[in-house]
Amino acid sequence: MKAEKDDLAPTITKLKELTYEIKIGQAMTKDVITVPPHTTMCELREVLKANRISGTPVVENGQIIGIISLEDLINAMGVCGPISTKKNGEDISKIQEKNMASVRENMNMTTVQENMTLNPETLYADEPLASAISKFNKFHYGRFPIINRQEDLVGIITQSNIIHAVLQHLEIAYYREEIHDQSSGHVLEDIIADEVKLILRYHVNAEDFDHAGEASSRLKKTLHSLGFHPQTIRRVAIASYEAEINLVLWGKGGELQVEVQPSQIKLETFDTGPGIENIEQAMQPGYSSAPEWVQAMGFGAGMGLPNIKACTDDLKLESTIGEGTHLKAIIYINEI
């Protein structure tokens, strides 16, 4: 259960971060439905129904003069009797009494102007979502008109807009994080220098089959910590493993050295073994000079050197009989 809690924590922080990062202008609905003040309440009902909205700003000469909502519509009908509500500082029971006489007739007569809320709360488009969220918490209104710094109406925001915007950004943030995590050795790139090279060296013991491959395993983990792409890691790990096994099988042990840079990884092995007689032949897939006991261990398929060649971009193999062998392979990092 501890793992679950740790999983949630970064998401909640990320959410909070996003509410400051995302601007209201990015989340709001831009095509705002508005009504002029002389609209009758019946006409308003049609507008709300047709657009499936619960309220609209009231606009005259391009200026917001009020806001009208479903609640105002219900209150204006006053069918359950006048509700002693104050609106804009005035008692609206007179309007409700008028409405009670003949609801339909009066709904045709009473206008938006008589029922709207004056001086509505607004938000600026360049404010962060966090401001909108605080406002929703404070006022419990369904929507806020959004204005630019010149006080023109540019949009409207509901809580639904906020949810959509945050979800969309969360998805993008997650995607970007995944991609960034997979960029070539971003840990190395975080080091500020003209040239960065990390050198890893492993001693490989002769004929130690129990530990043969352990160096490559450690190298693989290190590359993962450094933030390399899984495909890159796989190529290096396979090349390293095959080279390491060769050191144990043929080279009488030796050194495995890896030079890691953001743009490439260089893999080298050095041994003082008997050397390779015919390099070209050794590079042929399926060719193996492995004795029985090696084959019994699962090696000697003759794929070692060909595998290294397939995984790397540049391979050099030098060998002198009686002195030893030097293998050098480079893996170039491709930008994803």
Partner: protein
Amino acid sequence: MTIRELLELIEGEVITENIDLDQKVKMGCGSDLMSDVLAFTHEGTVLMSGLTNPQVVRTAEIADIKAIVFVRGKYPPQKTIDLAKEKNIPLLASKYTMFETCGRIYASGLPSCGVFDLTTRQWEDKFK
């Protein structure tokens, strides 16, 4: 295919304890030659093998192999089991031969890693 489903198909047993049986494998590979495994497998493979020495586990780790099935009742030595536990690679046992184990799994729809085009002499990965 989940490891649970695979075990049913081969009427097999688990060798290493505490395996997540709901893990999925994407493709299968049967081989006793480790370099072949490195040349031709992909991440998410289940490996069928008769090779029981620890190198099979090392190969699996390098190649991101999901699980190893030892065929024809071959039981690995403790060294191999210990290494598998350390590297968190499930070991399973099948009573069937390599041929039948692979056959049963393949017939149920688990694909292979790819195919070798004899004309172009090129290996084609099935999963990129």
